[in-house]
């Protein structure tokens, strides 16, 4: 993913005001992605306002229990990843590897639970074609799921990187971490919009 040679990258000092984790190109991606999703969220709100009864009625068929568990899953895996990034920065590769492995293991539960959530809904006839709410629900959570899967792949590469490199490229670890936190962040908004609000 990144071309910066690890050995020449200076480790950020302890007080790191003005420091940007990851590479600038990654931030371009993160910020752009956030804005694209923001446009979709606002569009959702506008269409919801046009037929609130339909949206509220359809919302009843979601499973807020699975939603909240998935939120906690993402938050916890993000936490592990943040700790892992710090450990890697301190040069403690072994601890970083363990924490990233935990991130991966916890994060991998998300797609599984998503299937547990989706399959019975589809079986009960709540397909994307049913109405606008379900279309939004499947499209947005599906798009987010793609981000989660990509994130898991990236974390896999980070794990491999940590295992094979004596001094890991911290910029790469940071960039992957920022991406995963963004996935977490987007889910927080999705959760509020689809499961919680009235």
């Amino acid at each position: 993913m990144t071309t910066t040679a690890a050995d020449t990258t200076p480790r950020p000092p302890a007080g790191r005001a003005g420091y940007m984790p990851g590479e600038p190109g990654m931030w371009f991606f993160i910020i752009g992605d956030l804005f694209i999703f923001a446009v979709y969220f606002v569009a959702y709100m506008i269409y919801r306002g046009q037929q609130p009864e339909l949206f509220l009625h359809s919302q009843q068929f979601l499973s807020p229990g699975i939603g909240v568990i998935n939120t906690l899953i993402l938050l916890t895996s993000s936490w592990c990843l943040a700790l892992g990034t710090e450990a890697a920065r301190k040069g403690n590769s072994a601890a970083a590897f363990r924490l990233l492995a935990a991130t991966f293991a916890i994060g991998a539960l998300f797609p599984l639970l998503k299937m547990v959530e989706w399959v019975p809904k589809l079986a009960a006839g709540h397909s994307p074609g049913e109405n606008l709410f379900f279309m939004y629900y499947y499209v947005m959570t599906g798009l987010h799921l793609c981000h989660v899967l990509l994130g898991l792949v990236i974390i896999g590469f980070m794990l491999r990187h940590l295992r094979h490199r004596a001094s890991p490229d911290i910029k790469f670890i940071e960039a992957g971490a920022v991406y995963w936190h963004m996935v977490d962040l987007l889910w927080l908004v999705l959760f509020a919009l689809f499961y919680l609000m009235r």
């Binding site: 993913m1 071309t3 590479e23 190109g25 371009f28 991606f29 752009g32 992605d33 694209i36 446009v39 979709y40 569009a43 269409y47 397909s127 994307p128 074609g129 606008l132 279309m135 499209v139 798009l143 793609c146």
Partner: protein, 260 residues
Amino acid sequence: MNIATAALAGTLADSGRPWYKSPKLDQYICFWSVPVFYNLFGLVFVPLSWMMPPRSPTNSIDGVVAFMQSPNLLLATTILILCVALSAVGNAVYMSQMRRMAVSPVLRYAFVVGAITGAIVGCLFPMFCFGLGAFREGYDPEVLQLLYDFGYMSFIGCLGCFFLNWSCLGLSILLDEKQTLPRWLGYYTIWQSVTEIFAMTLWVSDSGPFAWDGVMTFWFNMLLYVPWQFIVYFCIYRAIRQQPESELDNAPYVGGAARA
């Protein structure tokens, strides 16, 4: 990086030489065919056929019949027949940049397939659906509506080929350690390919934001796509200009001779 020196070398080499003597003339010819193509393409799909902006899938049957028999559709189809192959030239411009990148040729090979299929199902066939309606009077309204649906759905819902193409292009840009094209463009290209996926909803949605004329399926994509198309060609133009002449395939033949 060596971009500055390359730009300098490019400028020096270009100076004092008429444009038609440039060793990169083949690339420039193909590059400048792109604005020609997009102008014709715009002409065909907007003022001639008024197919774009997309008409509603909930259009009344009379509206469909009136549109499908509008006279300029045949002129639009004719122009498209003549210029559809220019899309191949434009895609070849991408491919020759992808060839310069330090990536596996597999990305280019996949791109070839996407470019060929996309030109037929995402460009020529949809226009033919409308042209066929205009070609002969007296077809049943149901037949015309079938053509109308088929035309719009294959034009706007043709996402697989373009998803493949832009993913291959974006991935090439991101994996390329030489940074032939800037990395941010790679990320932008990936968004472009991901938003193509949104078009899949039109296959199950007959009205509202996810239909083929919907905000989510069409307009947001346009918002991202139109600037992207301009920016990507601008970046490619810069990449062609900045390519050092010593790197060109014809360098051993023209490089020395032209300067001597």
